[in-house]
């Protein structure tokens, strides 16, 4: 017969046996009763009295239970029934020792939950591909230079893109640029995030508009028709998701543009904040502009390194397009194309933080495992007598193993379920903790891969720890064990050493975690004490951008800002008010260009020092609390000067002036002979440096230009969009309300954008470090807690085992105090050994920590000392309860203790 049919039948019977266990048992009963009844009837038919007949029948049948048992074995479900029994038994056993159970379950839950949560974040943020087709082929195209500290788009990305276009390594490449603009008409004026793109972006990303079409070649040319593609969110919110939006015009930056498309929901290039796409309209005859990032799609099978080599071969051609670059400059400055996965840019700086956090949480899982192992060992030791007794009574050792495994499985199940719940809660809370800090947080969810991975780890742990105690108890010879009465310390010596080793390991690992989070904490503290160069308290900021269409002349622009500032200064509670192009630390670069000093020859084939190019009004420095070092601040009359007036910062004095007096010198941004060359300006004063890019970066140095009242090459645009800084003693909300009123009176069509306090800008700049600090601190506290539980558990057990010994000592005259000290000492010694091992490990891992730190060395002595103190105190605390218990022992009862 075909074996599979037979197999099916077996499985059906097996399933029946399993699922309808009651019915099968009942039928079995009935069948056997019938048999005995018939047998009895046969005897009765031969004339025996009914009782005797029944007795004989039963006797002949034998033990019904035994037969039934044989049948059950035959059904092949015995294993499962026994497993169910073992699990029930394990649950009872665990319930009998709530302290142990709680400690083990909590430990496992924290270990598993922490890992599931952190791995979910790592997976969602770092590993999962971006939501574009074949997203792994998307790369950022930029350049690296010898210094390495220059923005990676240098030099002149636009020009190089023209040179790179047509490289065989790429399917397509595109340029993009982000900025902000006003959106007017159809309701209140709005301030929106804009990304301008070359039309090839649709080939690079391979995401077409959901509605309408991509930009045409015409629209991407300098004088082509004005077109715009709306982001999904803006389309829904401002235009009610109206599909007839196509063909209508919207006004962005005061220019009417026709809506030609709507991007699909979830399109988040280059960030989720993006609200509209504009064509970049690159002028191939004017290839100035430094800060244009490039993105490309590699051909299948091409690596970023290959692509970079390919581009490097094409790079020298850029010298024919850009005057100040020669082939030699490019070579001397070691300018090389940099091609790296686009995902790296999206993920940005959180990558090292997340990997380190994952490593740390992995360590926590390790601590948790060690902890559960040592708890199980302790438990196994206390059960030795019970096990010996059961073996003596005929229990199968295999079955004992199964029961031990069942207990581990129950612990694991409880810990796992609780852990997944914890992870789920943590992942749900995370976006609230670090909303803007970690990109792609929306992509983070606890997925099956994460659960499977964590469960696998935990299952290995459970099996390992289920077997170990039994393996140890296997060695038990029941007779000697029962005779010895489990009193002697001799049985204990070996396992005692193993347990203490486990505790030392736990303390060591907890030390590593504490040192790590301590260092990050100190970095954060250092970062907070960094002087940004301005005083943030009491300053409210907001942006007012003037649409070019209605303010086409520099004069009108300057006039508007002076009028607005006059109104602000007249408000009650305003101490000082001024404006600039971009706020320091607000996450956006100011324009950066080489800076020349009149009379100082340009070194051949070398890029001159770079300097930020900023515009500022009188009052800005007073409002920000930026100090004047020499000369004078800007004045309103500077706007009317024939030669522009500028302030330079101290870094510029150092880098450019080289000992010459700064005030009275002439400087200019840009390179001679190209479109972005600017005329000379008079330096009228020197001000303090400001950390503009980030708190942990040395200031680059800036030149502050006064607003001008007539067109000047490539400079007047600086003032169209200005950030105001108002130093006030009024509550921010009240001030903003007044500002809104004043603005509405001056020009009701202008949006008041980016209203916030300067302090919140600084806090946001610290948030990266704060996120690391909070994450590491949570992980370290969990590690410390689990380590302490382990230390406590083992010390309690050891103390309990030594009850008789302690009783003897006390009977011989030891005082409670000396007993207490002895137990405490033991705990502190164990913790101390772990501490030393941990600090050595932390020092050897210092390379891992360095990229995350600011202003502290990985072997920061203060951190090490504080961590040591914390650990020893926790160790003492964990030893304190057992010590007190030991000291309170009544010697008489202790001697009788078993």
């Amino acid at each position: 017969m075909p074996s599979h049919i037979r197999g099916t039948r077996r499985i059906v019977m097996w399933l029946q046996a399993l699922t309808s266990r009651r019915r099968v048992e009942r039928e079995l009963d009935e069948e056997m009763r019938f048999h005995i009844d018939m047998e009895a009837a046969k005897h009765a038919g031969r004339g025996l009295p009914p009782d005797e007949a029944r007795r004989r029948a039963s006797l002949a049948f034998g033990s019904v239970e035994q037969h039934k048992e044989a049948m059950r074995e035959g059904r092949g479900v015995r294993g499962i029934e026994r497993a169910a029994f073992d699990l029930r038994f394990a649950t009872r056993q665990l319930r009998k020792t709530p302290g142990f159970t709680l400690a083990a379950v909590l430990t496992l839950a924290l270990g598993i939950g922490g890992n599931a949560a952190v791995f979910s974040v790592v997976n969602g943020v770092l590993l999962r591909p971006l939501a574009y087709p074949d997203a792994d082929r998307l790369v950022t195209i930029g350049h690296r230079t010898r210094g390495g500290d220059l923005p990676s788009q240098l030099p002149n990305a636009t020009a190089t893109q023209v040179v790179y276009d047509g490289s065989p390594s790429f399917e397509a490449m595109a340029l993009y640029n982000t900025f902000q603009a006003s959106l007017t008409g159809d309701g209140a004026p709005d301030w929106i995030d804009v990304v301008s793109v070359t039309r090839s972006i649709f080939d690079v990303l391979r995401v077409p508009p959901a509605l309408g079409r991509a930009f045409t070649e015409e629209e991407d040319r300098p004088k082509g028709p004005r077109a715009v593609i709306l982001g999904h969110a803006l389309w829904r919110q401002r235009f009610g998701g109206d599909p007839s939006i196509l063909g209508r015009t919207v006004t962005i930056d005061g220019i009417a543009r026709q809506v030609v498309g709507v991007m699909p929901a979830g399109f988040a290039f280059p960030t989720p904040a993006m609200q509209v796409l504009l064509p970049m309209r690159v002028d191939r005859n004017d290839l100035g502009g430094f800060n244009t990032p490039g993105i490309g799609r590699l051909r299948a099978g091409v690596t970023p390194e290959q692509a970079a080599r390919d581009l490097a071969a094409r790079l020298p051609r850029v010298a024919t397009l850009v005057d100040f670059l020669t082939v030699k400059t490019i070579r001397d400055a070691r300018i090389v194309p940099d091609v790296h996965p686009y995902l790296d840019d999206v993920v940005g700086g959180v990558r090292p933080v997340l990997w380190t956090l994952w490593a740390m949480i992995g360590l926590v899982l390790l601590i948790a495992c060690v902890n559960v192992a040592s708890l199980l060992l302790v438990r196994a030791d206390t059960r030795r007598r019970e096990v010996a007794l059961r073996i003596a009574l005929g229990a199968e050792r295999g079955h004992l193993l199964a029961q031990s495994l069942a207990e581990s499985a129950m612990l694991l199940l409880a810990g796992g379920v609780l852990g997944i719940l914890l992870a789920w809660a943590a992942v749900a809370l995370l976006p609230r903790l670090a909303p803007e800090l970690v990109p792609r947080l929306g992509d983070v969810r606890i997925d099956l891969a994460v659960v499977a991975c964590t469960t696998l780890v935990a299952a290995l742990v459970a099996v390992a720890f289920g077997v170990v105690p039994v393996a140890r108890n296997r060695a038990v010879a029941p007779a000697s064990m029962l005779r010895s009465g489990d009193r002697s310390a001799t049985i204990d010596r070996h396992s005692g050493r193993l347990r203490q080793l486990l505790v030392v390991a736990q303390v060591a690992m907890a030390t590593v975690l504490l040192v790590g989070s301590g260092l990050v904490l100190r970095s954060f503290e250092k970062l907070r004490s960094v002087d940004p160069g301005f005083r943030a308290e009491g300053v409210v900021t907001f942006r007012i951008a003037l649409p070019y269409a209605r303010y086409p002349k520099s004069e009108a622009v300057a006039q508007f800002h002076y009028a607005m500032l006059d109104r602000l200064r007249a408000l009650p509670g305003v101490v000082a008010a001024g404006a600039t192009g971009k706020l320091p630390l607000a996450g956006s670069f100011s324009e950066i260009d080489p800076l020349r000093l009149e009379g100082k020859p340009m070194p051949p084939n070398e890029l001159p020092p770079l300097a930020e190019m900023r515009v500022a009004t009188p009052g800005y420095f007073e409002a920000m609390g930026i100090p004047l070092v020499a000369g004078r601040f800007l004045e309103r009359s500077d706007t009317d000067r024939q030669t522009g007036a500028v302030l330079v910062t101290q870094a510029i004095v150092r880098k450019v002036m080289e000992g010459r007096p700064a005030v009275g010198a002439h400087v200019a941004h840009g390179m001679p002979g190209i479109a972005s060359e600017r005329p000379w300006s008079d330096v009228v004063g020197v001000v303090g440096d400001v950390r503009g890019i980030s708190l942990d970066k040395e200031p680059m140095g800036a030149v502050y230009y006064a607003m001008v009242n007539r067109p000047r090459v490539d400079m007047d645009w600086l003032a169209w969009s200005m950030v105001y800084a108002v130093r006030t003693n009024m509550p921010p909300a009240a001030l903003i309300a007044s500002v809104r009123r004043e603005l509405a009176q001056l020009d009701p069509s202008l949006p008041l954008a980016e209203t916030r306090t300067l302090a919140s800008v600084v806090a946001a700049a610290q948030s990266g470090m704060r996120f690391s600090m909070i994450g590491f601190a949570i992980v370290a506290v969990i590690g410390l807690f689990i380590g302490a539980v382990g230390l406590y558990g083992v010390l309690s057990y050891v103390t309990a085992q030594r009850t008789r010994e302690i009783g003897v000592r006390m009977a011989l005259g030891a005082t409670p105090a000396s007993v207490r000290v002895a137990v405490l000492q033991r705990g502190v010694v164990v913790a101390g050994i772990g501490l030393v091992a941990g600090i050595l490990a932390a020092i050897s891992l210092r390379a891992l920590a360095t990229p995350l730190l600011y202003g502290v060395t990985p072997t920061d002595p203060i951190t090490l000392v504080v961590v040591s103190l914390v650990l020893l105190s926790v160790g003492a605390l964990a030893a304190w309860l057992p010590a007190r218990r030991a000291a309170k022992l009544d010697p008489v009862r202790a001697l009788r203790w078993e």
Binding site: M1, I5, R6, R9, R10, M13, E27, E30, E31, M32, F34, H35, D37, M38, E39, K42, A60, F61, G62, Q66, H67, A70, M71, G74, R75
Partner: protein
């Protein structure tokens, strides 16, 4: 239950059961009675091996079972030979005969 009765040899119980069921469907007790009767009480099947054997044969699908009402109006589980079982019985009988012959031969020569 006489002195002369004996347990069937190990491994032959399946054959006895199959042979008995080849005559007519029967319940467990009936099978023991039948074997006893036919072998003149020489072979007595122990219940402890009968029921596991029935279960085993059913899992192999050589027999199947159903609950029926007996002549005395009681519910009993009746076993019946399947087609597969009939074929198996033929094979088992063959192999048993060869076995017996071999043993007989051995006994005769020594």
């Amino acid at each position: 239950m006489g002195e002369s009765s004996a347990e069937p040899l190990r491994g032959t119980i399946d054959l006895l059961v199959l042979r008995t069921l080849s005559l007519a469907p029967m319940h467990g007790w009936g099978i023991t009675q039948r074997i006893q009767q036919v072998t003149d009480g020489v072979l007595e099947v122990n219940q402890g091996s009968l029921y596991p054997a029935l279960q085993r044969l059913e899992q192999k699908e050589w027999i199947d079972s159903e609950w029926r009402v007996t002549d005395n109006n009681r519910r009993a589980k009746y076993y019946r030979l399947t087609t597969v079982g009939r074929r198996a019985l033929a094979a088992e009988t063959q192999s048993w005969r060869r076995h017996v012959l071999a043993v007989e031969q051995l006994l005769r020569t020594t």
